[in-house]
């Protein structure tokens, strides 16, 4: 009886498929923010679980690489665990929780707090790559709008936000403009992370499996968040410190700690939080905080 994974090629996808994806990747990197179609494959996981991201990671992976997988900033949530196991099994590569030790980081909905460095690749899982989708349902029309840089409609959405809520209430998947040209959906990352997209040292890749689109930001690409002159872009962060590590700058998750609705905040980036606790930083603790 042979090893039951012997029949898999390295990182699950066959080499022809990887070549196809790499060709699309090269095009995506050459035209930052442009959505390149690719022949997305069926993956052994449902759409919405990161099939696009998994294919990009598989296409970029080499046997010596270490990968980190996060879901909403956490290394230990279902989506992250299953994708990490998938690559352990099909590629036999090492995995890590440490942002600074990873060669490839696959992420759902967050960018790590620790700044990324030269040589790293971050792969985003994207549900809907088309930022104009809910404003203009015709794909033929949105493509034309991208081609001709007609992005006024994107501001109509922000206008609606302000007219209803008094401020730009879009808090995730906040539209950005890449190098003054293409408007791009940065995947559903919180707008807190938007500034990290710009001038990042890492290569940033975006994969949408169901929608069969790839787009990318080469290192040190300038990315600006759309806004109005009188309503400039602002980051959004919960008012509070991390209950575990006391961080004052990181993006926080809200946690309801009892039936009375007492709430507390902890870092959404678990690796960042753990590294800080290891260094001796301490928060107020989860139980002692009263609302």
């Amino acid at each position: 009886m042979t090893d039951k994974f012997q029949n898999y090629n390295f990182a699950y996808l066959d080499e022809q498929t990887k070549r196809m994806i790499r060709r699309s990747l090269l095009k995506a990197i050459a035209i930052p923010g442009y959505q390149v179609p690719f022949a997305s494959r069926e993956m052994p996981m449902p759409y919405g679980w990161g099939t696009g991201g998994v294919q990009l990671t598989a296409a970029c992976l080499t046997p010596g690489d270490k990968i980190k997988v996060i879901d909403q900033g956490a290394d230990d949530t279902t989506n992250a665990v299953s994708i990490r196991k998938f690559f352990e099994k099909t590629a036999g590569i090492k995995t890590t929780f440490k942002t600074n030790q990873a060669d490839i980081i696959q992420t759902r909905h967050r960018i790590p707090e620790e700044p990324l460095v030269d040589g790293q690749i971050i792969v985003f899982q994207v549900p809907i790559p088309e930022p104009l989708r809910f404003l203009e349902p015709r794909e033929s029309e949105t493509r034309k709008m991208h081609a001709l840089s007609e992005y006024g409609l994107m501001h109509v959405k922000l206008y609606e936000d302000i007219s209803i809520h008094g401020h730009i209430s879009t808090s995730y998947a906040y539209p950005v403009k890449v190098e003054g040209r293409y408007v791009m959906d940065p995947s559903p990352i919180p707008k807190f992370d938007n500034p990290k997209l710009s001038k990042s040292a890492a290569l940033q890749l975006f994969g949408a499996g169901r929608e069969q689109r790839i787009y990318a930001l080469p290192p040190y690409t300038s990315v600006t968040s759309l806004d109005f002159e009188d309503f400039p872009f602002s980051r959004l962060r919960a008012q509070g410190n991390c209950a575990l590590c006391g961080a004052t700058e990181s993006y926080l998750d809200e946690i309801i700690t009892n039936d009375k609705g007492t709430r507390s905040y902890i870092c959404s980036d678990t690796d960042y939080c753990n590294s800080r606790t290891e260094l001796g930083h301490l928060g107020n603790g989860l139980d002692e905080v009263e609302s």
């Binding site: 404003l135 034309k144 001709l148 007609e150 006024g152 409609l153 501001h155 109509v156 206008y159 609606e160 302000i162 007219s163 209803i164 806004d227 109005f228 002159e229 009188d230 309503f231």
Partner: protein
């Protein structure tokens, strides 16, 4: 004064069927040109060809653009043509649902063209939207309501405001009063007449309704089977039609 629009030898066929044939017309700034004819006579085809929505097979459409000078709208780039369609002419559809975004508030609808030509100041856009709401006699308090909550007549007025917010010198209207009851129709006509007069809009107005033409138009084209069969001053054509088809049209109007 030089014309704002000059159409020469325009032709569009659908297979062997005539869409519109051998269309020649000249429109001067501030002039209202009415186009009448039965269903299928090519009125809408002609209007779509002139307004950049349907590619004609022959002929030229020269538009005297305030920003780009005299251009043939079918030989400039797609990007330029779409820019002109957003900024320098307007199109009012018969059904306001075709011209409005129904899931965007009234203010957003009015502001869209401003944003699409590069205005990025919320306060200014909001102010322009409020001014236009008043101008078209809609309650400015309803600026954040969606068009779905408006009546047909209100939607039609909103569509007009939305298309005029960038101060285009030229407007195309395809049956703007169709499907409205007579009292609403009268109010809308009154509004259109006032706007056309105040803003000095050159207008091409397509309609079945000779009363609308009588009220708004300076000149008339009568179309039949894709061709212009008669043209002249509005009162002249309506009071003394020469072509048999024009005579039929004028005599078949119901009187109360």
């Amino acid at each position: 004064m030089s014309p704002i629009l000059e159409v020469e030898g325009l032709e569009k066929k659908y297979g062997n069927q005539a869409g519109c044939l051998d269309i020649n017309l000249v429109l001067y700034p501030g002039e209202v040109l009415g186009v009448v004819g039965e269903s299928g006579s090519g009125k809408s085809t002609m209007l779509n060809c002139i307004s950049g929505q349907l590619l004609p097979e022959k002929g030229t459409v020269k538009f005297n653009s305030p920003s780009k000078g005299l251009v043939d709208i079918w030989s400039i780039s797609n990007a330029d043509q779409r820019f002109l369609a957003r900024k320098e002419w307007a199109f009012v559809h018969q059904n306001p649902r075709d011209g409005l975004r129904m899931d965007i508030s009234a203010g957003g609808n009015i502001g869209e063209r401003l944003m699409s030509i590069g205005n990025r100041h919320y306060g200014q856009i909001r102010k322009a939207a409020e001014e236009w709401m008043e101008r078209i006699e809609l309650n400015a308090e309803r600026i954040d309501h969606r068009p779905t909550t408006f009546s047909g007549g209100m939607q039609q007025r909103l569509q007009i405001a939305r298309s005029l917010v960038t101060n285009p010198p030229l407007i195309f209207m395809d049956e703007p009063t169709g499907g409205l009851d007579v009292s609403v129709q009268a109010r809308l006509l009154d509004l259109i007449r006032q706007l056309v007069h105040d803003l000095g809009l050159a207008t091409i107005l397509v309609t079945h309704d000779l009363a609308v033409i009588r009220m708004l138009a300076d000149r008339i084209l009568v179309m039949q089977k894709g061709r212009i069969v008669e043209s002249g001053l509005a009162d002249q054509v309506l009071d003394d039609p020469q072509h048999p088809y024009s005579q039929l049209l004028v005599t078949s109007v119901l009187r109360v």
